[in-house]
Subunit: 362 residues, 2 copies
Amino acid sequence: MAALPTIDDVARAAQVSRQTVSNVLNSPGIVREQTRTRVEAAIHELGYRPHASARRLRTRKSFTIGVALHPFKNGISGNVLDRFLHALTERADLRGMRILLYTATDAAGEIEALRRLRDGADVDAFVLTSTFHNDPRAEWLIAERVPFVTFGRPWGIPDLEDADHLWVDVDGFAGVRDATARLLEQGARRPAFIGWPSPSGTGDERRRGWQHATADLGIDHLHREVEDAVAQGTAAALELLSLEDAPDALVCVSDSIALGAMMAASSLGRHDVPVVGYDNTAVAEAVGLSSVDQPVEEAASAALDLLFGATGNDARSREAVNEEPRHRLLAPRLVERAWTNLAPGETTGTANAGNHNRKDPS
Amino acid sequence: MAALPTIDDVARAAQVSRQTVSNVLNSPGIVREQTRTRVEAAIHELGYRPHASARRLRTRKSFTIGVALHPFKNGISGNVLDRFLHALTERADLRGMRILLYTATDAAGEIEALRRLRDGADVDAFVLTSTFHNDPRAEWLIAERVPFVTFGRPWGIPDLEDADHLWVDVDGFAGVRDATARLLEQGARRPAFIGWPSPSGTGDERRRGWQHATADLGIDHLHREVEDAVAQGTAAALELLSLEDAPDALVCVSDSIALGAMMAASSLGRHDVPVVGYDNTAVAEAVGLSSVDQPVEEAASAALDLLFGATGNDARSREAVNEEPRHRLLAPRLVERAWTNLAPGETTGTANAGNHNRKDPS
């Protein structure tokens, strides 16, 4: 390994003291801007890199965020959390922070992993995903005063406004409400909803959105609850479309179910029935399904904002700022497509065109 | 953070020297059992946690593997590398190792990231993905003697047997060769191939597989090269199926192209034309496409075996073992499905059923 420039080399080049260089690295706010600029220029020119482990020892900061990577789900919607991880890694990088992955098979195992990483000073904060009713991970982190934020609201915890629990989430209620309203605007009078069995935090929110948008239409009974599978969507849609007072549009809680519903409508020759899914997956894009898109990139930014403030990477100092918002509920957005172009015999090849430019996958 | 107990606190409580505490932590075998028990009790009582950064500085080992997370591709096949990352994180965990993610937008930027992580002693080794022709990242790592393995063979480097470059890859040649042979076995006589434009490391390998399987059939001309998009697959399949000597089966380099080809065949009422894709994505599962499945879990295990040996987590010691294999080429496996069940008017809902059980995505 070539001899690396030291903090003394930087101090000499910038004509400041060693302490000033250290201040620029650790508490830039206390250094005059002119001096800071000069020191930063010298750091850049010399290629000086403070030794990460030494700096961690000094500052008790690792500039690292812990994120659990749960077993892979190869479902159609399974990649929402992977999209979030990508976005989080990129956004963290802009703040000079990295992501450390860990695994766990259940909540108890995950708390053990959190404890080990905290004890080793391996991470400064955690970003948790896949929140659920009575999530013990959040309780443990709050009790231990470890900075964290969840992607997913604290389902089942009475006080969503709890100042100790930072969270960011996507407003599934608004997403489905607005998608349903859009169908009504386009002439639908009887849009049905195919959802997940209750109770389901996100599923119930989405169904509430449909209920809200259709409250005045007298079609409260036009909803079904099925497991998240293509075949289940097909079966539910076939049954709904065979009713005497059949729906004229199908709003679905997921793209898996929407794909099944689309196949059902297609098999009945009902290319006039619009179908809307949720998560705007690659499948929806490929087959031309309208779908509600979760703004995961925005969610990743918001998670870091809640932890560290609009800039910077110090969770502890952020924690002291009491008047800042503790939660962010983001609005999703409907991506409209015309699946009926899939109808056999009609022109294919343009409207359904995803643009999956990609070579050499491995 | 409350003041944490120090090694001196432990020494005082156990009535031993600081060095003895250090020995208990780092070389317990040289400490008398009675003393060790006393020190361990004090460590436990005080809640002393040897600082990970201090240990890293001392041992120069972080028990951490660096992996780049490249910008998310929401294409149909985009999740193969995410599947690999999940598998790698789980397998590394079994060896007491974690994954540190970093980002980079190009090879030069990635080398900068590699250098920073190496300089900071943040990682012990790297796992690189998305290898390409004349990959400068591998050259840099070899020159700097940093342990690494690539998921993807060193395309374009003359000596695939280079002992300095550990790699694991999936044999796309064999995958497509065997899938094509299976179609011939089932009665196809003119299976065409829709691939990516050459040169493409993985794409060319897959086309060679089709060429090998069809060498005696006099159908060398029945292949097309298109960008990886659903619409391109549709266009190529429509053109091929309109030929006088049209193919009777379509082998595709990706599931995106296969989906487009399937839609083309469907639009022509040609439900008798089998279509095979590659990567066995959620889309293939959802619409019932046959597809070649990459064994990414096996690839993750093999990558760790190459870096660290069958057990353990010491890349440096592994490096010294010269007689061990340096490469692993894994065989993919065809997953057969019957997409023709998608045909409108026929029964739907069972053969196409993916089992995407999933609730509360965020």
